[in-house]
């Protein structure tokens, strides 16, 4: 499992990095999906199979499809890349990239600085998660449903055609 974790982590980081470099929206999305899939494998290797499946079903399979859907609705064909290329010139990206590298470096330093964090316990399967979800977190589930309702009503209002 350790090997799986490292390989999946590597793929996740690399593909997320490639998302940044893509000027084509759909190619960027494909790398994002790849990154999400490898994060799902990371979840699996951490002993969290339920969220691994949810990551694929909801994140990669529903949320990202919405993004693709929007690309198609706006018909952002291969022609829409020119503008994006401009933003990927070295002078625009050096600043943020250096900032990010510093940020990453600091975070790695901080979390490596303290050795001996305990290893994870046994796998936590769907049953335990569901029991927690509908036990102590029941109000949270209700709130999440209210949150989705707000999203639904808002998206409905914003997305409707003005004529009706």
């Amino acid at each position: 499992m350790i090997v799986v974790f490292y390989i999946a982590s590597g793929v996740a980081i690399l593909s997320t990095f490639l998302v940044i470099l893509q000027s084509n929206a759909v190619h960027a999305l494909l790398y994002a999906i790849l990154s999400l899939l490898s994060v799902a494998i990371v979840f699996f290797s951490l002993g969290a199979p339920l969220v691994a499946a949810l990551e694929v079903i909801v994140y990669a399979g529903a949320i990202m499809v919405l993004f693709v859907f929007v690309v198609m609705v706006l018909n952002l064909g291969p022609g829409a890349e020119g503008q994006e290329r401009v933003w990927l010139q070295p002078r625009t990206w050096t600043g943020p990239v250096i900032l990010t590298l510093v940020l990453i470096g600091e975070l790695i330093y901080i979390f490596l600085a303290r050795p001996g964090l305990a290893l994870g316990g046994p796998a936590i399967g769907p049953q335990e998660v569901s029991l927690a979800l509908y036990g102590p977190y029941l109000l949270g589930v209700e709130l999440a449903s209210i949150l989705l309702l707000a999203g639904l009503v808002g998206a409905y209002h914003l997305g409707r055609e003005p004529s009706d």
Binding site: I2, V42, A48, E128, V129, A132, L158
Partner: protein, 102 residues
């Protein structure tokens, strides 16, 4: 099963999070900005799952599910707004779509 030191998991989450931040700083296209917000939220969810695995609790995964719900709601409204923006401004560039000035 999980023999991965927790800090590596957190570092992975931190790197993905930072890449999301970098993406937002770099891109001016609202489509990409929304995409990187998702990347950041996903990284935060990953951090929760890692932390939950460290303590052997289900709470981390529960939080991940809540993050998922949030991400879905944000994307629904975000993409709705994006379509409106494209409709009104004929561009997805946040710098060009800027009427509000003080």
């Amino acid at each position: 099963m999980a023999e991965v030191p927790t800090q590596y998991g957190i570092i992975l989450a931190a790197i993905l999070f930072s890449l999301g931040v970098a993406g937002i700083l770099l891109r001016r296209n609202i489509f990409f900005v929304l995409l990187f917000v998702e990347v950041m939220l996903n990284a935060a969810g990953l951090a929760f799952v890692v932390a939950g695995a460290r303590w052997g609790q289900a709470d981390g995964q529960v939080m991940f599910i809540f993050v998922l719900a949030t991400a879905a709601a944000e994307v629904a409204i975000g993409l709705g707004l994006l379509l409106r923006l494209h409709h009104q401004f004929k561009t997805l560039n946040v710098d060009e779509a800027s009427d509000l000035r003080g």
